[in-house]
Symmetry: C2
Subunit: 122 residues, 2 copies
């Protein structure tokens, strides 16, 4: 259970991590419109997430309320690991270096990361 979610599915799952439960219509409005998906598409993604065991559907009257069934930290951690393995041979600093070069790091990001590192070293 809890097979990997595809990229699109991950967007939906992400929205559920941010707020849950949500209905298909809710998600269509937020994630759907953000990605240019119709309600039908969002429903399909939800169905697949449920089938993969990444999301649970709880009946509320005639409709369902969806909730994440996997832990965000776990899922995100797994993905991150795969990602750094795949592109950086498991090394994290080259990733940071790339993000920095691409100016993908805001001042806030930098400050936050520094704070994190301080905590890590203590």
């Amino acid at each position: 259970m809890a097979e990997r979610a595809s990229e699109s599915e991950m967007q939906v799952l992400s929205a559920l991590w941010d707020e849950s439960p949500q209905t298909a219509a809710d998600l269509a409005e937020t994630v759907g419109t953000a990605n240019g998906w119709t309600l039908a598409t969002v429903k399909t993604l939800l169905a697949r997430l449920v089938q993969k065991g990444a999301v649970t559907a709880e009946a509320e009257g005639r409709r369902y309320r969806y909730r994440p069934a996997v832990d965000r930290a776990d899922a995100v951690g797994d993905e991150s690991q795969r990602f750094v393995d795949r592109l950086f041979g498991g090394r994290v600093s080259p990733l940071i270096a790339h993000l920095a070069e691409r100016e993908a790091l805001s001042d806030t990001d930098i400050a936050e990361i520094e704070a994190l590192l301080r905590r890590l070293k203590s």
Copy 2:
């Protein structure tokens, strides 16, 4: 051209970034065995990479020597951006936080990241 490489394709491309040119047989021996792929599979991945314009094939006698045709920094940067967008809403520090929590950061990583940040701030 230069469409996105799939995960498996990326492994091959990555090997070419590390060393090039290489033949299909070379790659099968390294990336192939590392992933449990046969020579045939590696050849397919190479063909797809060439078709996508991510790798060039230069004939050397009866065989080809493959070289990356896309810049590593560019490709990796794009992937990284997509990745942080997808899982962290574009914010980098949560990614670092997760990696840190998973103890995926070595002391060396931390030191390197700090050095990077110092450079960024100057």
